[in-house]
Symmetry: C2
Subunit: 239 residues, 2 copies
Amino acid sequence: EIVAAIEALLDVSPKPLSGRRIIVTSGPTHEPIDPVRYIANRSSGKQGHAIAAALARLGADVRLVSGPVGIADPAGVKTIHVERAQEMRDAVEQLLPADAAVFVAAVADWRSENSAGEKIKKVAGEGPPVLRMVENPDILAGVGHHSQRPGLVIGFAAETQDLLRNAEAKLRKKGADFIVANDVSHESGIGPSGVMGGDRNRVRIVSKAGVEEWPEMSKDEVAARLAALIAERLKTTVV
Amino acid sequence: EIVAAIEALLDVSPKPLSGRRIIVTSGPTHEPIDPVRYIANRSSGKQGHAIAAALARLGADVRLVSGPVGIADPAGVKTIHVERAQEMRDAVEQLLPADAAVFVAAVADWRSENSAGEKIKKVAGEGPPVLRMVENPDILAGVGHHSQRPGLVIGFAAETQDLLRNAEAKLRKKGADFIVANDVSHESGIGPSGVMGGDRNRVRIVSKAGVEEWPEMSKDEVAARLAALIAERLKTTVV
């Protein structure tokens, strides 16, 4: 912490993202079923928070919209806390216009049709309830096709099958410049040693230009490399 | 930490729960829908962990079975970490026999019928999925009617309506000696300032003898008072 502060003071290197506003989303969303139950996606927020911190280190004015996570707000980043996908969408759209947006959050695709005001009770003789789902707003596609679309829009895709085919379809449909695809299938796994919850990640960067495969590295390294890629791309666009 | 350690060394007062094995459950359970989604109950684990710690301070050999929480294992308590209700049930039953069991965990009543091995995809033209639920094991009732039933069985009930009527029904059905009923309705609420996630609690102790209403107090105070009640009850039963 102190070392980082001194480094920041001594740092006279040019900041490639100075004056750039970048929106980052991170963490899961929680969709209420009733006052005590909810549906959630597995996401520690580690990758999204690391990307927000890496962009801030390059001088960007970062606004992080985070779902419920157990980790601290990154230093130097303005963090907005939300719970549901609809809240995340509203928070992101209020932050437009921006130079870039990076959608790392694992947003729940659906929410419960009726988020009952009262706790759903077990009723003797009746079976468990059937939960009807309705689709949540697609935050990435909403921003990718927005009238105030940022110059650079990056989505994340967690896939367990047909990783690349799904990522390419997503790129077109969502109006994104890049999809960062991470493989959360059985090999890479979920939990402390896996992609979700763990500290390492193996990603592919899918764009119109093709697919770039990055080796497995720490989430901080993925964040630093992605921040450098964003800085490179924003340099070549008109401010 | 150091003060507590010195106090423990200097403490020559009799330990009323020495030699007693007590099982405590705490936190939520997470029930997978697919590799990236799950259903959860709101529970910080604060109340359950505080009860485990309070019982340990009275000399009990406490085994805490905890769902996924963001708080540390209590000092002096053997903690077993689980995720799903079925895992919690198995862990609890393997800890029998015991002198008492306190079921504080907010166990999910249902789990998804098919916890799909692959991530459920959005399919164009098809609506969101319907999630069919199946009932989870009732851990409290299972232990309340177990051949190795502990001498003292205490359940917790989070209710949003008909608080007392539901708690009394639960007492009979579950084979419990006490139900600690907390009101999670709108007045008391959910979130940092409410019962769930907050640091304070207002409970009623429901037993065959009737209902005892405790004033609102911190979760640590509820824990200390409940530990004292347990010590009192175990004193009057044959070891």
